[in-house]
């Protein structure tokens, strides 16, 4: 596989012209990937600093809302002398279609990456139709 260098990407703040933000702290859009396999759609969301207990995933109508909160206590006794990234909570929402079987959505969290596996509904899975000889 080709080796390539990782570029640095700044965090994008959830801006107040797009939505009204309540609650303390800063909110950011986490970066996310969406890919499709024959059986599932998978969402991968980067949320560094979010523990498994601080993730909230809500599914309402056709909207999937993902919130992740970071603990901001670590720096209380420390003096920050150099800073390249912002610390804040994460929020992102997705609109999902009827192509997804909503009862079997699976979520996993490892190393700051949330993966959501959205299985496809039976009617959108590729199906082979047999041709019968008469």
């Amino acid at each position: 596989m080709e080796k390539k260098e990782l570029p640095a990407v700044g965090k994008k703040k959830v801006s107040s012209d797009k939505c009204v933000v309540t609650g303390k702290g800063n909110w950011y859009f986490p970066l996310s990937d969406i890919y499709e396999t024959p059986d599932n759609f998978t969402l991968l969301i980067d949320m560094p600093g979010v523990g498994i207990e601080n993730i909230n995933i809500d599914l309402q109508d056709n909207e999937l809302v993902v919130n992740g909160e970071v603990s901001q206590e670590a720096y209380t006794d420390e003096k920050v002398i150099y800073n390249e990234y912002n610390i804040g909570h994460y929020h992102r929402h997705y609109v999902i279609s009827d192509a997804i079987n909503r009862d079997n959505i699976e979520a996993k969290m490892s190393d700051g990456v949330l993966s959501l596996i959205l299985p496809k509904a039976a009617h959108v899975k590729p199906r082979k139709i047999e041709v019968k000889a008469e």
């Binding site: 980067d46 990234y85 929402h93």
Partner: protein, 149 residues
């Protein structure tokens, strides 16, 4: 839980926005560190902080296996190297949206103080790498006893 309401704001909402900006400002002044406006060009982004005993270097590195991370300290220079791998089945799947990047990275940081290289520890939790570097005895503040003559 915090609520995020998605809709076009009305005229009165601007008051809420001002209030929010003010509380953001207060947060900025009081609690967690916020970036000072410079664009980071290197991966991973880091935060360097100090306490009385230690120097801390934190880096946001989501989705990396500990075995793919390499941390080294030599001559008060900290080096973080590693590789972020793409999803194992990435070649077979169809990407509909791709924002997360992968690849190799390496960066070195000149530490602000002399550290005891033997006692450096590193931990990786929830995608954040924390390197704890105890200060070398010579850079710790020492109280000078004043003798009465």
């Amino acid at each position: 839980m915090n609520l995020l309401k998605w809709e076009k704001p009305g005229p009165l909402d601007s008051l809420t926005h001002i209030q929010r900006e003010m509380s953001d400002l207060l947060d900025f002044l009081s609690s967690t560190p916020q970036m000072e406006g410079h664009v980071n060009v290197e991966y991973p982004p880091i935060i360097v902080s100090t306490s009385g005993e230690n120097v801390f270097v934190r880096a946001e590195l989501p989705g990396i296996k500990v075995s793919d991370l390499y941390v080294q300290v030599a001559n008060d220079i900290l080096t973080i190297k590693g590789e972020r791998k793409a999803a194992p089945d990435a070649a077979k799947v169809t990407y509909l949206r791709r924002e997360r990047d992968y690849g190799t990275f390496a960066r070195s940081i000149m530490l602000p103080e002399k550290v005891d290289a033997e006692k450096v520890t590193a931990s990786y939790k929830n995608g954040v790498l924390t390197v704890t570097l105890p200060k070398a005895p010579e850079s710790k503040p020492k109280q000078v006893v004043i003798k009465k003559s």
